[in-house]
Amino acid sequence: MTALRRLGFAALGIAMALAHRSVHAEPTPELETLLDENIVTTASKSAETETTAPATSSTLTAEDMQRYGIHTLAEAINYLSLGAITFDPLFTAEIGARGVFLKGDQGNHFLLLVDGHTVNEQLAGSARFDHGLGVPIELIDHVEVILGPGSVLYGSNAMLGVINVVTKRAKYWNGAHLVGESEFGKSFRASAGAGTTFRLLRLPSELTVAFEYYRQKGPYFTFEPQLYGANDLVSGMPLRTRREGPPDGIWGGTAYRSYYSEVPAGQLRLVTGPFELSAHASTFKRSAPYESYLINRDSDFDSPDSYTIDRSLWFDLKHHAGLWEGVDLDSRVYLDSYDSRTFASVSRVSGCLHPGTLTCYKRETSVAQWIGAEVQATVDWLKTGHLVTLFGLDGRLRKFVFQQDVSDFDTGRPLADSQGIIRARDETLGAYLQQTWRPLRSLSLNGGARYDFDPRFSPVLSPRLAGSLGVWKGGSFKLVYAEAFRAPTWIETSLATSDVILADPLTPERVRSFEVSFDQRFGAQRLSMGAFRSSWQNLVELHPLSIDELKAAQAQGKLDLFKSVVWSQYQNIATIDDFGFTGTYEGSLDHDALRYGLNVTGSVARRNDRTGTERPIEVAPRFFGNARVSYDLPGDLPTVAVAAQFKSNALTDRSLDGGWPRTPIAPGQLELRATISGPVPGLRMLSYRVSADYAFSDRTPYVIGLHQTYYPTNRAYDTWYLAPVDTFRVTGGLQMDLLP
C-alpha cells in the first residue's frame, strides 16, 4: 500500500471517528436552551428548529408584541425583527431588508403569508404591513420573518424574504376576548374574538374568530407653505391648490381633514378533523395629508376626498392526509378577491384641463381575483426523518382589471374616456422540489428548486442550497445560497396611458444571495452573527424617456407625439449589489423575568442602471436595528418594557432623480417606546397596556408637496420638504378575557 493510500485511509478513519463521536457523544443541550430555540415552519414548509432552517430567520412572539406595546406587523418588524425594516410615509408602510429598499414597490419584494396563505394581491404584488393587514394583533401567535430569497418554495415576490403571520389556535385562545385601545386623541381600535374547541361530525374541531374596527384621524400636521413660483400655464392665474377660495399658488397649511384611515376586518379559522378552513375579509381606507409623486399626485391640499380604499376577501381550505407510512399528502384550494380604488381631487386648471370644471375627480381602479390549488407530497424515505423529499405543485387562474377615469367632482359626469385599460386573464403554475438530508445529528443539508411558468415570460428556475453544521455545544454554522424572482406585474407589462408607453417584453427581476452565519447558544443566551452578499438583476422601473428615446419611439411608430405624448416606460433597467452583516444578541435572566435583545444590520447597497452610474439606494439606511429590555415584576405587579428602533440617515426618495444641486439627506431616526402592562388589580379577567412613544427625528425620507424636483428656471423650487413624523404618542388599552 502506498503512503498516499495509507494517508487517505487514515484521514477517512479520523473523519469517521469524529463523526461517530459527534453522533454519540454530543451532550443534550440544557432544558432552557431547548425551550428558547424557536421552531419555524416557513423556511422549508416543515417544522424544524431555527438552527437547522435553511435561512436566517427571526420569530416575533405574541408575548413580545404584547409586552413591548406593538400594534401592527410593521411595528413588530421594526422593534423586534432582524434585518428587515419598515417606513411610515403617513399612508401605508413600506418595507425593505438588508440595505435594499425599492421605493414605491408597495411591499411586492416581500412575500407576506397569513397561516401560509399568500396575501400579496396578484395585480401589483402589493401587501400591507400596517393596520391594513386586517389581522387583529391579539389573534397573532407569532410571526416568522425569513430573510433572503424564498422563491424556491413560494414563487414570485419572495426576493427580500418571506413573512408568515401565524394565528393562535383555539386551545391557546379559549373563551371570548374583547379589546378597546386608543392612541389618545388620534385613533381607537375595538376588537372582539373567540376561540373554542368542540366536536363536529364526531371529529375534534376548533374555531378561532376575531373582528376588529380601527379608525384613525390626525394628528393635524402643519406643512410649510410651498410657493409654486409661476402662474398656472393654462389659466394664467396663480396655481389653485384647493377647491375653496381664490387660487393663490401656495401649497401648505394645516391638514385638518386629510390624514385618516379606517379598517374594519375579520379573520376566521375552523379546524375539523384533517380539514382547515381560513377566511379573511377587510377594507383599508386611508388618506395621506400631502401630495407627492407617488401619493395623491397633483391633488388638492387637505382634501378628504383624495384617498385609497382596498378591499380584500379570501378563503383557504387545507387538508392533510397520511397516505402510507412515511408519505404525507397536503392539499389546498384557495380563492381571493382584491380591489383597490384611488381617488384624487384636482382643482388646478393645468391638472384638470376641462373648461367649466372646478375640480376633476381622478379615479384609478384595480381588481385582481384568483383561484388556485396546491398539492404537496412529503416522502420520508428512511422513515427516520433523515432523508425527506418534498414535492409540490401550485397552480392559479387569475383575472385582472385596471383603468383610470376622470369625472367632474361636483356632478359626477365623466369627462374623458377611460384610459390605461387592462382586462386580462392568465394561468400560472409552480412546481417545486426540496430534498433534506441529515447524515449526522449535527449536520443538516437542504437543496431544492422551483420552476415557475407564466405566459408572459420564459419559465424561471429558483434554486436553493443550504447546510447547517453543529460544531460544539450550542454552536452552529450555516451556509445558504438561494435565488428568487419577482414576476413583472400586469401593470408593468400592459399599462399604456397618455404618459406611459407600453413596455417592451419584460423579464422577471432576479436576485442571487449568499449568506453565512454563526449561532451560539449558552443557557438562555443567544449570540448570532452573519454576513450576506446579494446581486439583483433586471429590476423593473418606470423610466422617464430621454429626448432621443422619445424620438426613436416615434420613428418606430410606437407613439404619435401629437396624439398622445408619452413620458415613461416600464423597463428592466437596474441592478443592485448589496453586502453587509447582521448581528443578534438576546437572552433572559432570573427565570425569564428579565428579558433583553439587540438586533443590528449594516450594509452597503449600490444601484446601477444602463447609464453605468453606480449610486446608493434611496431611503434605505445603511445601518439599522432595534434593542429591547423588559422586566416582569413579581405577583400582580405589571411588566415594564422599553424598546428602541434606530436607523441611520439616508437619501430621500427624490435625492437621485430630483436633479437637486445639493443632495437631500433625511436625518437618522431613534424611536423609543416604553410600555407597562399587566392584570388590573382585583379583576383577573381584565388587563391593561399603556405605552408612550417618542421619536427623536421629526422627518421621514419622503419628499412631499409641489417641490418634487429641482427646476433651474424657477427659484421657488430650490428646496425640498420631507414628510413629518408624529413624534410623541401615548396609547392605552384594556383587554377582557372571558374564559369558559
Binding site: L335, K551, L561, K563, V565, W567, Y711, R715
Partner: protein, 156 residues
C-alpha cells in the same frame, strides 16, 4: 370513498360559484365620453381656412402657433417675438416637435421643455425666458386643443 369524493367535488364547485359571484360584484365599466359638438358660430367665420385638412398632424400645431393673433386663434405675435430671439427660437423649435404643448399638465410641459431650454442656452436669468413663457401660455390655451389632438384643425 364515494362520500369523500362527493364532498370534495361539492366543495370545489361551491368555491367556483363563490368566485363567480365575487367576480360579478366587481364589474368595472369602461367609460366612453361622446365628444361635444363644436360651436360653429361667428368664431368659425373669423378663422383662416386650413387649405389641406389632411395635413400632417405635426404641422397642425405649428400652423396654429404661427397663425396671426386673431383673438381666439393663433399666437403669431408671440411667435414673431420669439423667432427674433435665438434662445427663445431654439427652445421652441425643439419643444414643439417633441409635443411639449400637447401635454396635459403644467409640470409635464416644464419637464418636457427643460432639456430644450438647456440646449438653447436659456436660464432663469435670461430675458428670453419671458418670451418663452408668453408663447407657451398662448400655445397652451389658444392652440392647446389642436396641439393635444383633441380637435382636428380642419374642423375648428
Amino acid at each position: 370513498m364515494i362520500t369523500i369524493l362527493t364532498k370534495s367535488l361539492a366543495s370545489f364547485f361551491v368555491a367556483l360559484a363563490l368566485a363567480a359571484t365575487m367576480s360579478s360584484c366587481l364589474e368595472v365599466p369602461i367609460i366612453h365620453v361622446e365628444p361635444e359638438p363644436t360651436d360653429a358660430g361667428d368664431a368659425e367665420a373669423s378663422r383662416p381656412p386650413v387649405t389641406d385638412a389632411s395635413a400632417d398632424a405635426p404641422n397642425s400645431c405649428y400652423a396654429c402657433v404661427k397663425a396671426p393673433s386673431v383673438p381666439g386663434y393663433g399666437c403669431g405675435n408671440e411667435w414673431d417675438a420669439c423667432e427674433a430671439d435665438p434662445q427663445c427660437a431654439g427652445t421652441m423649435e425643439c419643444a414643439i416637435p417633441l409635443g411639449c404643448l400637447a401635454l396635459p399638465d403644467q409640470s409635464s410641459i416644464i419637464n418636457c421643455g427643460i432639456p430644450c431650454a438647456r440646449e438653447a442656452g436659456l436660464d432663469v436669468s435670461s430675458p428670453s425666458l419671458q418670451l418663452v413663457i408668453a408663447l407657451v401660455t398662448c400655445g397652451e390655451t389658444t392652440c392647446g386643443p389642436i396641439c393635444r389632438g383633441e380637435v382636428d384643425a380642419a374642423t375648428r
